[in-house]
């Protein structure tokens, strides 16, 4: 019935989702272990949401193998959904009900008794710091508050896996940090998190392990640190030029100093383990950019290297 120790909570092999001729998910495979925070990183249209919907048993698998909690989504959708907590990309809160009613009614969908839900709603509102708004209508709440309410609501059935589809997309930076903080606490409590994101900082903050998705395929897998070590250098030098004096080819100045050059429309990225030394040496060779920034490599650089494109276009 249930997943035993060591058996993954989610197991996917050669998983495919097609909509007519369009292949949204093109033969991906991964395993999610209990207690893990696992991420799908990729740009819009990479197939992340389609994958999440198949796992959430609201979208039938076209081809391949998928088991969730040891069960088959095609046959056991009801049982599986009863043990998942879903935070969809677009809020599905009821705007006319109060904050509290949204949690209670959602708990009723799982068949939980009202008495138990009254207590559970208090705890969850406390957790997402919405206790003071408990009896207010949802509509006037800020985007961040609505997101927090959606997270609280998804926890009502004490889920074994939380599915978070772009949990902070559309939120301002401060609200994002509050959401991350709550998710981090859940992770520390041992809740298994599966999330999609196109923010590399979100993936870095929350994920123990992640896969990079592009055009329906998984192009890399590992921890954020692994991926950066494998597909990028320790540091990156970002150089910006005036349109008039941007060189066509930087080989003359960078040869032997950096391991890779990535020209972007608005700047040039130079990959090297010691950014300061490289930029200094390049300067010595006589190249003077308008501005220079040395930073550490991020998952954005990994993605750029793997696909030749940026995460956010």
């Amino acid at each position: 019935m249930t997943a035993h120790n060591g058996q993954p909570l989610i197991h996917a092999r050669d998983l495919v989702k097609r909509f007519g001729d369009f292949v949204a998910v093109d033969g991906i495979g991964f395993d999610l272990q209990r207690g893990e925070a696992f991420g799908f990183l990729g740009p819009n249209g990479a197939g992340k949401t389609s994958t999440m919907r198949m796992i959430g048993c609201v979208s039938p698998v076209t081809d391949g193998t998928l088991t969730v909690l040891g069960l088959d989504p095609a046959k056991d959708g009801v049982a599986i959904r009863g043990r998942l907590g879903v935070v969809p990309q677009q809020d599905t809160l009821d705007m006319d009900l109060t904050v509290r009613e949204n949690i209670v009614i959602y708990g009723r969908y799982f068949g939980l008794p009202r008495k138990q839900l009254a207590k559970r709603a208090d705890e969850l509102l406390e957790f997402v710091e919405l206790t003071e708004r408990a009896n207010d209508r949802v509509e006037p709440l800020s985007g961040g508050m609505k997101r927090r309410l959606t997270i609280a609501r998804s926890l009502v059935n004490d889920p074994e896996i939380m599915l978070l589809d772009e949990p902070t997309t559309g939120l301002d930076p401060q609200a994002r940090h509050v959401v991350w903080d709550r998710l981090y606490r859940l992770k520390r409590q041992g809740v298994t998190l599966l999330l999609t994101t196109h923010y590399m900082d979100e993936a870095e903050q929350l994920c123990d392990r992640l896969v990079v998705m592009d055009r329906g395929k998984i192009v890399a897998e590992g921890s954020p640190r692994d991926l950066i070590e494998r597909y990028s250098t320790r540091e990156v030098v970002e150089m910006r030029f005036d349109d008039s004096n941007r060189p066509e080819d930087l080989t003359y100045w960078t040869d032997g100093l950096v391991s890779r050059v990535e020209p972007l429309p608005d700047r040039v990225l130079l990959y090297t383990d010691d950014g300061d030394a490289a930029s200094h040496a390049i300067h010595e060779r006589g190249l003077v950019p308008e501005s220079v920034l040395v930073r550490r490599s991020t998952l954005e650089d990994v993605f750029l290297h793997l696909t030749g494109r940026s995460l956010i276009e």
């Binding site: 979208s59 998942l84 677009q90 809160l93 006319d96 009900l97 959602y106």
Partner: protein, 257 residues
């Protein structure tokens, strides 16, 4: 067994939602019948009764009251099953929330229809009380007009919800109201017997669910129940079941991609 109870969970949501805005609809469900009966039953009725003899020698008030009851159910049903259903898919997305839980498509459909039953039963009961107070109910059987009115409503909510789950835009709702609901309201025997219509239009009227509903309600409140009334019930039930079957398809196509 428990699986049969699952639609009660979405029903609970719609009832909670109703409770937050019930005052407006409660006032209108009392005011509407009073206004219609005063204007048509009492006001217009005086002229009609002077010049015409209606079948079975009833007054115009007695004639029009059960018709209005059925026709009002049609209007409320058509409204409730159009914008709110599309909204639960597209704008407010409450259906999506339900489907992320153990609830299935059929629970969502039946739960929403169960709410329509509640809404229609409430309106029908108020309407029945009002027409009784106006003296338009001649038979104890008349009380059965309440469940019949609910059935009339469902013969609209089921197919319209099926359509609402299929359509992308609300524009078609306006067309449905203008080209189906309004003509039915006027020409399905609510205000005058359809036998006064030109023959081709009378034949069209036979197929409208509202005509079957109006006829049933009228037979019940006047106490002239005939065996053919069972056929009216069967016709309406067939539309409800057909609507639900189609809804099962359109909901699934829209919500389970």
């Amino acid at each position: 067994m428990t699986s049969l109870m699952l639609p009660l969970r979405p029903l609970e949501f719609f009832l909670t939602q109703y409770r937050r805005g019930w005052r407006g609809s409660a006032v209108s469900s009392v005011v509407t019948p009073v206004v219609y009966l005063l204007a048509l039953g009492v006001g217009l009725g005086v002229f009609v009764d002077r010049s015409t003899n209606l079948p079975q020698g009833v007054s115009y008030l007695e004639f029009v009251a059960p018709g209005l009851m059925a026709a009002t159910a049609m209007q409320i049903a058509s409204f409730e099953a159009s914008w709110p259903v599309l909204g639960a898919i597209k704008w407010h997305r409450q259906y999506h929330a339900m489907l992320a839980t153990p609830l299935r498509i059929r629970d969502v459909i039946l739960g929403h229809q169960a709410y329509f039953v509640f809404r229609l039963a409430l309106t029908a009961t108020v309407y029945f009380v009002v027409i009784t107070a106006f003296g338009a109910v001649n038979s104890p059987l008349g009380v059965l007009a309440i469940p019949v009115t609910v059935l009339v409503g469902l013969s609209f909510t089921a197919p319209i919800a099926a359509w609402a789950a299929h359509t992308d835009t609300e524009a078609s709702f306006v067309a449905i109201f203008r080209f189906l609901i309004l003509p039915m309201f006027l020409f399905s025997g609510t205000f005058f017997p359809i036998s006064s219509l030109p023959r081709p239009l009378e034949i069209v009227a036979w197929f409208t669910p509202l005509w079957h509903g109006v006829t049933l309600c009228r037979d019940l409140t006047l106490g002239h129940v005939v065996p053919a009334d069972l056929l009216h019930v069967a016709y309406l039930l067939a539309i409800v079941i057909g609507g639900l079957v189609v809804a099962r398809v359109t909901y699934a196509k829209r919500l389970v991609l």
